[in-house]
Amino acid sequence: MKRLLIYLLFHLALQAHSQQVFQLATPMLKYESAFFKDSTSFSIQFNQPGAEVRYTLNGKEPTVNDLLYSKPVKITKQTLVKVKAFGKNFLPSATAEIEFVKDGKAIAGMEFSKPHEQYSSSKKDILFDNAGGSLQFRNGTWLGYNIDTVEVLIHLQKQEQINTVLVDLLQDEGSWIFLPQQIQLYYYDEQQKVFVQAADEQQLFEQQVPRRTVSKKVTVKRKVKTNKLKLVLLPVKPIPDWHTGKGNHAWLFIDEIKVY
């Protein structure tokens, strides 16, 4: 009896093996911008008979039991969306994700280091215009840098208690665009008339990840009150050995900054 069962299972396995199973492609997430004031929405493009798209709004990996996508989804608060395609005759897709970022404290203006002329903008509010979050680095919402230090001076409309600064970055290592290796945050001390360091974060790059945007949150070590902040981003230099561009200066791309 046991032998019969093994024999049966063996042949089933053989039959399953001879049948080529393909993976579904990652569904396409569509949205105007990853940044919003009151509300926004996203849609998913994936028209494949025999497959369906499931998504989560809590940052968890989607399963076949999660929300089934059928029509555009409205977003009203800070949300990490994850999306994945499933189908009976296919391997599930990789997961697509986008973080929708709600507007923060009122910004009076920003001054930033001069970007590379190819990835520049004439818009003074380019870093706080609620436009961006695209994976296309040439689409006009991004500022691109290949210099050693990138500085952004943030003028708030009034004195505020600061908890976190969010900077939206592109990670497209195939195009030599890396996250910064170091981010420093300073606040302006009105009494001392100096910038005081409030955070200093380092990043390691051990392997290539799929192209994505990263909403990097920098949290201040202790609560501060100010109307002026300075963000210092240090691009990767040189590009690490595992990458085809090793030894070269990496690119850094920013499209939005929020203060909370």
């Binding site: 069962l5 049966l8 089933l12 080529q20 994936f46 028209n47 005759n89 195009s175």
Partner: protein
């Protein structure tokens, strides 16, 4: 065996037997690719070659000759040309002189098959017999003032008119289409880059579309613009076939249909997002092999994208006399071509 053990064993077996038909049923569900009346079964193991003996790099293009043989062009100089039968067995191989072998077009010259190879690295078009003897070479056209040096001319494809006129697409150079007579004498050039509809951006492929026998025309890829552009045989622009999202390599006509490998999609560049599309006689997308179900809005196709990871970077498609497809791929781990058979 005591009673307890017996029950345990028999229940496992029963469960196994009960499940078996369902599992067999599920396993038989094979993946059918494509849409409408253009659906296929795929065989990724069609080529029976040993990679150590007959290696490939990029499998750029494929054609079928009069004898029914399937001819593959690769930029691997150990064997630039591999000639298969339809079952994937090797018949012949030749060619060590084409490091940038890219375009392959077959033409029946007074009943004899001849081949036109575009070489990106030699900056040349080479006419050969099907067993590799060189018959003619076309270098950078001196008549076109836009070229200041030979390296600026990087031909990717040819199309041969019934009268023998040769159209060369400079798809990695300056995107001109250069027309010669059958002897290689310059006639004219058109296309090139610019802002009007009649210009091209990455004129990667070209073919003669003779489906309308009284009105043959040229179909040219403008790959980075995700479109085909149509011209009369004397180079007058007719119209544009927009294919949003799709990096169409070269158009291939067979019967009533136009087939093209889509190298990748706009939204997923550099991410192995290719598929194969098929247009009907009216240049309407009827099937995407490995791509989305075609849909139209106001006469334009919706943006196209990959849905199944069947291909990485498909570069050409060849349709044989039995309507089977062969798909050659660029930069896809040196894979041999796949064969797809139609499903009725």
């Amino acid at each position: 065996m005591n009673r307890k053990q017996f029950i345990k064993h028999s229940s496992i077996t029963a469960a196994g037997l009960l499940c078996a038909p369902a599992i067999i049923g599920a396993a038989k569900q094979e993946t059918i690719l494509g849409h409408n009346n253009k659906r296929y079964r795929i065989n990724t193991k069609w080529s029976q070659l040993n990679a150590a003996q007959y290696p490939v790099k990029d499998c750029h293009e494929m054609v079928q000759d009069q004898q029914g043989r399937i001819i593959l062009l690769t930029n691997e100089t150990k064997n630039n040309v591999l000639i298969y039968d339809k079952s994937g067995k090797l018949i012949n191989s030749w060619g060590h002189d084409y490091p940038g072998a890219h375009g392959l077009t077959l033409f029946s010259e007074n009943g004899t098959d001849v081949m036109f190879i575009c070489d990106n690295e030699l900056h040349q078009v080479i006419k050969t017999t099907t067993d590799g003897k060189q018959l003619m070479k076309l270098n950078n056209p001196k008549e076109v003032n836009a070229y200041s040096k030979a390296e600026e001319y990087i031909p990717t494809e040819t199309a041969i008119a019934p009268n023998g006129d040769i159209y060369v697409a400079d798809g990695y150079g300056k995107d001109f289409i250069i027309q010669y007579d059958y002897k290689g004498n310059y006639i004219r050039h058109f296309g090139g880059r610019g802002t009007g509809d009649e210009y091209l951006m990455n004129a990667h492929g070209i073919c003669i579309d003779d489906r309308d026998k009284s009105n043959p025309c040229l179909v040219v890829s403008s790959r980075q613009q995700n479109a085909f552009k149509r011209y009369t045989l004397d180079g007058t622009y007719i119209n544009t076939i927009a294919l949003p999202g799709a990096w169409v390599c070269r158009p291939v006509i067979k019967g009533d249909y136009l087939y093209a490998a889509v190298l990748q999609t706009n939204a997923r560049q550099g991410e192995q997002s290719g598929f194969v599309l098929i247009l009907d006689k009216n240049y309407k997308v009827v099937s995407n092999i490995g791509g989305n179900l075609p849909a139209y809005n106001n006469g334009l196709p919706d943006e196209m994208y990959q849905t199944i990871k069947v291909f990485q970077y498909p570069h050409d498609v060849c349709i044989d006399d039995e309507e089977n497809l062969y798909v050659a791929q660029w930069n896809s781990g040196r894979v041999y071509p796949y064969k797809l058979s139609p499903v009725q």
